[in-house]
């Protein structure tokens, strides 16, 4: 059961990759820069998903993938043109396919109507001329259903032989396929056990051959042993097919593309009039009956002609070892060896170990310096080299967790499609810097805020096509999604070319909600910032798309939870740009190392706005215990970190310390009082929860260069703790 679950997991992982490839391919077809390979890749992706899904009995997925595949096949073979409307349909189908995969994996409900609708649309594409081609398209459908049913019956009753009917195919295709310039191929096909082990099915191959033209199929059951000797995972059947088709040998060989290493097969062209190679096809149903009875243990004597056929075929295999597929196989193998799948825990363990190495190395350096060894001595120089090496190892190890932002950018193109459809706006998504790499966790947690921002950009940012035309803009709006590395962080921008923020309306709304004093004079930037305020939503009416009660404040807090910052720049009439600056990894944090009551603490740099030396005139008492600092006209609460964290009883004199102005998640500003600032440093985040538990006011721990543990201050909790009950502060943190 466990190994089955593991295989299932691998299948879904591969599905994700195939879906990404499918979407990439479709998008490049849409943008016009595609060749035959792209179409093939797209087809292959759907085909692989279908193949895997069949092995796991995911019938609904198989059915949809099959219809999709059929339509794609027509594009691939050049029988229909991939125009804009068709590519859009394909993209929607790929979205639905992705949904079906997800539902199959995680459970949940699927919009059956949408699937059925797309199903119909795809069938219609594949079959524009219902009168002539109908049997050709519906026949595979029917067989798939039968296969599925047989499988289900097998689940209930134990062993039931699988029966596949080719009748519909044989009959239907004769009319549909062009008869002119037909050539005849003799195909011999014997699957190896690996073929079945990889969740392929010989019946599918045969069915595909049938779809190429008129096929007579004979099954060779001579190799099937008596039941006692039968290996349930063995492969004993082989087939001989006589195919009359208008297509060339390449097309026939392509059928075996996915299984070429897992089976033996030969394809020979036959002169139509050549009587030597003529053979009598056995009726398939009879052959299957025979196979079924064999499976029950009633072995029959092998038919001699089939044996002769086998021998001929074996010789042919040796002769015809085709050069082309082998070359293709090599490159495929070379590609496969470029990536490996590694358990994330192992990577994290490695990152931990390297973190220790870095600390150890710096401790060693410190000891050597303390021992009075000259800086130019060999020992010290060697240590310098060691330091450089360890830093490089650390960077490389961190890079293992780094992943390109491409998959998430691709997901956004789907969001754009859906929202554009819902809002009736025409939108083009432009992405840049997809190769930019960020920590896996950062990427995962970026999906929701990014989705929300894209929705907002289209729903609120972009005007309707009519409005755009009126203002002299192109009818199609554009949303730009870009990623770039900038000074050790990754900067992601979402920019639209819409109307920009309607400051008048934002201000009115803020005043109406009591967020802003009616008489307040706000700069443009300050007004723009209001949209990040909790509970603020400009949508006049709640729309389907983005007005779900979550606003930009949620986006902001999720970005901040990642140690990032978000800002907005907007120009009336020209659009808005949201800029997010994120850390490359969650394993390290830029911090300010400070001293408080003899303790070394780390304050996350993302929370810090500025540092200052408070003057006596700026500090005011407020009530009995509270104090505030006036900063440019605003009074900000002053918090003695040492007192707040319980390191000392009495609050220290503000004039003796250094004040750090911080901003919390909800944009409240406060001033933290510390004794002194040691410096800025990148620190490795260590969990306190693993061996102890959560400590109020502490975000995590880290190990400094001297080997000592230092506590990383949870700025939000420290600030909130001033005003709220600990319980409340705790709840707030869990919510974040």
């Amino acid at each position: 059961m466990d190994s089955m679950a593991a295989i299932r997991q691998t299948f879904f992982q591969e599905c994700e990759e195939q879906l990404a490839e499918l979407e990439t391919g479709l998008l490049s077809i849409e943008s016009g820069d595609s060749d035959h390979d792209t179409v093939n890749a797209v087809f292959r992706a759907v085909h692989s998903i279908k193949g895997g899904a069949g092995a796991f009995g995911l019938d609904e997925l198989v059915r949809f993938a099959h219809t999709f595949e059929t339509a794609l096949d027509l594009v691939r073979s050049g029988r229909i043109e991939a125009d804009a409307a068709l590519v859009r349909l394909m993209l929607r189908s790929s979205d639905t396919l992705a949904d079906l995969v997800r539902v199959s994996r995680d459970g949940g409900a699927m919009d059956d109507q949408r699937v059925a609708h797309l199903h119909d649309e795809l069938t219609r594409i594949a079959d524009p001329d219902a009168a002539t081609a109908a049997p050709a398209v519906s026949a595979p459908e029917a067989s798939v259903d039968q296969t599925a049913n047989a499988g289900e019956a097998g689940d209930d009753d134990g062993f039931v032989p699988l029966q596949v009917s080719f009748d519909g195919l044989l009959g239907g295709d004769a009319d549909a396929e062009p008869v002119a310039a037909d050539s005849i191929f003799r195909i011999w096909f014997r699957p190896k056990p690996e073929l079945y082990a990889k969740a392929n099915d010989a019946a599918k191959i045969l069915r595909e051959i049938c779809s190429l033209g008129e096929a007579d199929i004979a099954c060779d059951v001579s190799a099937v042993p008596v039941l006692a000797e039968l290996d349930p995972e063995g492969a004993y059947l082989s087939w001989t097919i006589r195919l009359v088709t208008g297509l060339g040998e390449d097309a026939v060989r392509e059928v075996f593309e996915f299984v070429e290493f897992d089976c033996e097969f030969t394809v020979e062209q036959e002169m139509p009039a050549d009587p030597v190679f003529d053979f009598e096809p056995e009726p398939v149903a009879a052959v299957l009956d025979q196979a079924a009875s064999l499976a029950e243990g009633e072995a029959e004597a092998p038919a001699i002609p089939q044996k002769v056929m086998d021998r001929i075929a074996e010789v042919a295999v040796k002769d015809a070892a085709p050069a082309k597929p082998a070359a293709g196989g090599q490159s495929a193998q070379a590609q496969a060896s470029q990536t490996i799948r590694v358990d994330l825990d192992r990577v994290d363990r490695l990152i931990d170990l390297v973190g220790e190495l870095v600390i150890n190395q710096s401790m060693l350096t410190q000891r050597v310096t303390e021992a009075g060894i000259a800086r130019l001595s060999e020992v010290a120089v060697g240590l310098d080299d060691l330091e450089q090496l360890t830093r490089e190892i650390q960077d490389s190890v961190m890079a293992i967790r780094a992943q390109p932002v491409r998959p998430i950018f691709q997901r956004m193109s789907r969001v754009v499609r859906e929202v554009a459809e819902m809002t009736g706006k025409s939108v083009r998504l432009v992405t840049e810097g997809e190769a930019c790499e960020v920590d896996k966790t950062v990427i995962e947690r970026l999906a929701d805020p990014l989705t929300h921002m894209i929705r907002n950009a289209i729903d609120h940012g972009l005007e309707t096509p009519e409005e755009r035309v009126e203002t002299g803009k192109p009818e199609q709006g554009s949303v730009r999604l870009t990623a770039a590395h900038r000074s050790g962080r990754v900067v992601i921008e979402v920019a639209d070319d819409g109307a920009g923020i309607n400051r008048q309306r934002v201000l009115e709304k803020a005043v109406a909600n009591g967020l802003v004093d009616p008489n307040a004079q706000l700069s443009d930037g300050e007004i723009d910032d209001l949209i990040f305020h909790p509970g603020f939503s400009t949508a006049g009416s709640v729309s389907d798309v983005s007005g779900r009660g979550v606003g930009m404040d949620v986006v902001k807090s999720s970005i901040q939870a990642l140690g990032g910052r978000i800002s907005i720049a907007s120009q009336p009439g020209a659009g808005s740009t949201f800029t997010m600056s994120l850390p490359l990894t969650l394993a390290v944090l830029d911090g300010m190392v400070v001293n408080v009551a003899g303790q070394t603490l780390v304050v996350p740099l993302t929370a810090i706005v500025e540092t200052l030396q408070p003057k006596e005139a700026d500090v005011h008492g407020l009530g009995e215990t509270s104090r505030v600092v006036s900063m440019r006209g605003a009074f900000l609460p002053l918090i003695d970190v040492g007192h707040e964290l319980g390191y000392r009883e009495a609050e220290t004199d503000p004039l003796d310390g250094v004040a750090i102005m911080v901003e919390t998640e909800n944009r409240a500003q406060s001033v933290l009082l510390v004794d002194s600032i040691v410096g800025q440093q990148q620190v490795v985040i260590k969990s306190l929860e693993a061996n102890y538990g959560h400590v109020f006011g502490v975000a995590a721990a880290t190990i400094l260069g001297d080997g000592q543990v230092a506590v990383i201050v949870d700025v939000d909790a420290v600030v909130a703790g001033r005003r709220a009950e600990p319980d409340l502060a705790n709840r707030k943190r869990t919510a974040a």
Partner: protein, 157 residues
């Protein structure tokens, strides 16, 4: 964990004995991961008085518990001669600050006697029983309850 259980059901147990405030205690050797000298700890805010703080144990953050204070004795003023016994229970590692490690004992389960009623309520909830070894009395500490130290923010102070 299975290993520990196997050991429990076996006829003999190995125990690490240590001194604390003039008395002798012991813990199951299967739960001991390391024994190291005292290193200064980093105090944690809002922690109970028996939590001495945290130390860096080969790259992970290890809380150190003053076992004397935990058992209700006066708290320890650690010196370089004090010892931290690194123990593992479940998924968590915790360091126990003790005066000195004295012995390794091999005993059978039937040697363990129930804790006498005279012990203080606090001490009794950590003690699984007492052993008589060469005229000395050694208390067996059950680590499960000692390690249930996670302060929840509501109940601090």
């Amino acid at each position: 964990m299975t290993h520990v259980n196997e050991h429990d059901t076996a006829s003999s147990n190995e125990l690490i004995a240590f001194r604390l405030g003039g008395q002798e205690f012991c813990v199951d050797i299967m739960s001991v991961r390391d024994i190291r000298g005292w290193t200064p700890t980093t105090p944690l805010p809002h922690s109970p008085d028996y939590v001495k703080g945290v130390i860096n144990l080969r790259g992970s953050v290890l809380p150190v518990i003053d076992l004397a204070a935990r058992l209700g004795f006066s708290s320890t003023e650690p010196t370089a001669r004090h010892v931290i016994i690194v123990t593992q229970v479940g998924t968590q590692s915790v360091g126990l600050l003790v005066d000195a490690v004295s012995d390794i004992l091999t005993i059978t389960d039937d040697k363990i006697q129930p804790t006498p009623d005279v012990a203080s309520a606090l001490a009794r909830c950590f003690m699984k029983g007492v052993l008589a070894v060469e005229g000395r009395m050694i208390s067996l500490i059950g680590l499960d309850s000692v390690l249930h130290t996670h302060p929840n923010p509501g109940s601090v102070n």
